[in-house]
């Protein structure tokens, strides 16, 4: 961002906190950008002539006589085809010494889509992972996070999903990404020969946390350009939204707001919704799909961050290590894709909904059997069969290293049904049983 000639320079701060500073100034607009001591900042509060600025780079070392210049406009990103294949920092400045982007500046965090102008999502995203495609089918225009403890391989799974998803553009918004993970993404995309479809906005752990607040808006502004101007299918990856929420709480804390649950700002729901609701299917074919990561602490989904996220997103994909098979699986109980109804049995084979439900129910029976076992009770013959089924089901379908198509997933599930259960135990609509129950060998 360049400074314009004849801009007024202020040199007297009246207050500094860890994330904000304030000064007396006139004619300043809410949410406009400023430069404080060479660091980018944004107006977050105006009372009379006292303006409070949120300093993205942190306020360490800022003196009371720091130079402050106002830009007269909110944060913008230059959008154009030239964005493709490039890496940016949180301010939208090109990394790795690359040149400026050619394009027209667009305000980030812009207005919402008129709900009436949206189209109902209906296009399936196939990932090859049965824990997703079979049990929690994704659809373009959906927004869904991975809920995972920090030791789960969520970034790897996400990169896999992104590459298999047949998106026209993949936009990565990295927040508090470790440098290693950033390089991992870069390598995977490079090796897949997908770099021309990739755009990255990255704030790494080495950079100031408040900067992260810009990342989702940058990524989504770029996404809106390709989805509306080029009618492209855009997949936005946001990792890690927990660190984004942490940055929100830092700022609200510095502004003396009363925290609500888990020291999070009372506006957490709205703040997160503003990001996630950018996911949309446009009528002209363009779409924005958001796959995010929300790291948990000890699997606790009642913490304010995953809790509010769950209320906003269209389901969640819950990763956990299955001790029986020693595989990371997509947990069928705690995972959910709410948009699956729009495609399963419609875009996929007719028996999909019932097969999916029956398998999960039998898997639940296995979980009960396991509890019995742990409590020292004898298992019934049915319990034994459930446990065997659960083992196979977890290994052949739920594990995240699976890569098969949906018909194959359904056939495999039928095979497992026939191997371990009677038709009555599976309890699926008779017409499907007639058609798909594997013939006896």
């Amino acid at each position: 961002m360049e400074t314009k000639a004849f801009q007024k320079i202020y040199t007297q701060l009246v207050g500094i906190t860890k994330a904000t500073c304030s000064l007396r100034a006139q004619g300043v607009a809410n949410e406009e950008l400023a430069m404080v001591h060479g660091r980018l900042a944004q107006v977050v509060k105006i009372i009379g002539d006292v303006v409070t600025l949120q300093v993205f780079g942190g306020t360490e070392g800022i003196p009371t006589n720091a130079e402050v210049i106002f830009y007269g406009e909110p944060p913008k990103l230059k959008v154009g085809d030239d964005l493709a294949g490039r890496f940016f920092n949180a301010y939208g400045e090109p990394l790795f010494g690359s040149t400026d982007v050619e394009g027209s500046p667009k305000e980030i965090g812009g207005p919402s889509v008129n709900p009436l102008r949206r189209k109902q999502p209906s296009e399936l995203i196939a990932t090859g992972i049965a824990g997703i495609d079979l049990n929690n089918t994704l659809v373009t225009g959906q927004k869904i996070p991975f809920f995972a403890d920090p030791d789960q391989p969520y970034n790897q799974v996400m990169a896999n999903v992104a590459l298999r998803a047949k998106a026209d553009k993949i936009i990565l918004g990295g927040m508090g990404l470790t440098n290693d993970d950033f390089l991992y993404f870069k390598n995977v995309f490079e090796n897949a020969g997908a770099l021309d479809r990739i755009i990255c906005f990255v704030n790494t752990t080495e950079q100031p946390p408040v900067e992260r607040l810009l990342v989702p808006d940058m990524a989504l502004t770029a996404a809106e350009y390709f989805a509306t101007e080029k009618n492209e299918k855009v997949l936005v990856l946001l990792t890690d939204m927990t660190l984004y929420a942490d940055a929100l709480s830092i700022v609200s804390n510095r502004m003396d707001q009363i925290p609500s649950k888990d020291s999070m700002p009372g506006s957490l729901y709205s703040d997160l919704a503003k990001v996630y609701e950018k996911a949309v299917q446009f009528p002209d074919g363009g779409s924005i799909t958001i796959i995010a990561v929300t790291t948990l602490s000890g699997g606790d989904i009642t913490h304010a961050i995953p809790d509010n996220t769950g209320y906003i997103t269209e389901g969640q994909l819950f990763l956990r290590k299955d001790s029986d098979t020693n595989k990371v699986i997509v947990d069928p109980f705690r995972s959910l894709s709410r948009l699956k109804q729009l495609v399963i049995g419609k875009k996929t084979r007719e028996d999909h909904p019932q097969v999916m439900n029956a398998a999960v129910r039998l898997y639940a029976d296995a979980a009960n059997a396991k509890t019995k076992l742990e409590n020292g009770f004898d298992l019934s013959e049915y319990d034994e069969r459930c446990l065997k089924f659960a083992h196979d089901y977890s290994l052949r379908l739920l594990a995240i290293d699976i890569n098969i198509d949906i018909d194959a997933m359904l056939n495999q599930t039928w095979e497992l049904f026939a191997k371990y259960f009677t038709k009555a135990e599976v309890a699926i609509r008779q017409e499907f049983v007639k058609k798909y129950w594997p013939a006896e060998q």
Binding site: S112, L116, D307
Partner: protein, 584 residues
Amino acid sequence: MKTKGKVTGIIANLVSVEVDSPVAQNEICYIYRGGVKLMAEVIKVIGKNAYVQVFESTRGLKVNDTVEFEGHMLEATLGPGLLSKNYDGLQHDLSKMDGIFLKAGDYTDALDYDVDWEFTPLVKVGDEITAGCWIGEVPENWINHKIMVPFKLTGTYTVKSIVEKGVYKIKDTIAVVTDGDGNSINLSMEQKWPVKMAITAYKDKPRPFKIMETGVRSIDTFNPIAEGSTGFIPGPFGCGKTVLQHAISKQAEADLIIVAACGERANEVVEIFAEFPHLDDPRTGRKLMERTTIIANTSNMPVAAREASVYTAMTIAEYYRGMGLKVLLLADSTSRWAQALREMSNRLEELPGPDAFPMDLPAVIANFYARAGLVYLNNGQTGSVTFIGTVSPAGGNLKEPVTESTKKAARCFYALSQQRADGKRYPAIDPMDSYSKYLEYPEIIDYLNETIDAKWVETVLKAKNFVQRGKEAYEQINILGDDGVPVEYHDRFWKAELIDFIILQQDAFDKIDASTPLLRQKFMLDLIVGICDNPFKFEHFEECSTFYKGLINSLKQMNYSVYESEEFFKFEEEVKSIINERKA
């Protein structure tokens, strides 16, 4: 002269304005930002400073921007043409807005002023009338939309003139009335009403005495909701609040449905936009959209308008109640509205109550729920607003302020359980924790026994008891092990499972199972309770579970079959033979 002011401070969407003349609490004003007018509402006044909540993003607003006050509170525009409309939280017609993205200050008309309406007068010159009286009617979709004397008029008026039957536009004068002092007032087909005030132009609000059929078995059979009553659905995320509300909106035996999408997902509203124009109303055969009005303030739309959205929806519902109609109002989720209140209260630096919600939250919720109800209009006819709200408790914990306050205000409680949802036992309404106070109302008991079956309530209570006993047996089995309890315990447990699988669980996405008319509910309940009444004997608990699983499988096929079809009876035969075999 309108009161004017200047912006003196901005914190997110809370703006302080210095005013030059009087302003009223909740008065509406417009802030001029460049060429755009942003709507706002006064929520606090101190000295010459009015604090207003802006219904838009305040990006770009500056100190000293001008403000103009309107002299009235936030009002709903009421008149023919509200049905089938899609509004934002402030009742602006979403379909009239240009472009894909919403623009701040793009305020469109709620009604269509150039449309012709077939007006038929219902009063004649010289008639005495009061607020809410029907002076004429126009056909709107399939209802007779009554044109009412504006609710704002107090006292008695005399009709001085009334137009003849014919075609008129909304703003045309259709009647002139005079007050006691002989002043004339022109009436059109449109009137306005402040959304935060209840419309009370009715004679009487009796206790509800009939039930409203929803087609959802675990509601109608287990915990019925009365016409003109209030219910709420709390549940952790993903447990099925929205799916349940959508099912109710499609199937309920109401004349019209007002849906307030309050701070929830845009895609869920799109689902209604996409489906309702094609789905049939099971009772009239007309398209569902014809009886539906949607107020959408999705979670990415301005937060302050969220609070307004539920009030706007309630006002429209009360308006149609005044025409003697059965209105069902659904709001998803009232927690988002409470959160909007919390955000403002926080910015106003008010002393917070529990979980940082405003202190008066319980009162605000209670007042809102109290606006629902069955009423006798002044002409003796009945009209009703039935309200069902969802609540999204933080962390799924029902001990939080919104759930607790709502529990005090609503009469039906449909608690969605995480455990049931995890086990895909949908709808996840917990049969034991949930309740309908109406099952204790003698007038409702009489009504049910008269309209469904003389023994209906008795049978329902019996079924509930089976579920209760099954749950207790299950706990024992869990503690003592399958072999550690008498086989009879397993029989008890499985009887409860039978009721759960066949009556309580219902697949909202299956064409046939989704909606069950009361008659069919009665048939199935009698069948199931009949089965449960049998004292089956089993040698071993596995024999017991195999028997019930087979039974459940066949009964489920009945649920998936068209009622009283060949297929349906075939499965019924199957069920009977399984039972006879067992008895033999």
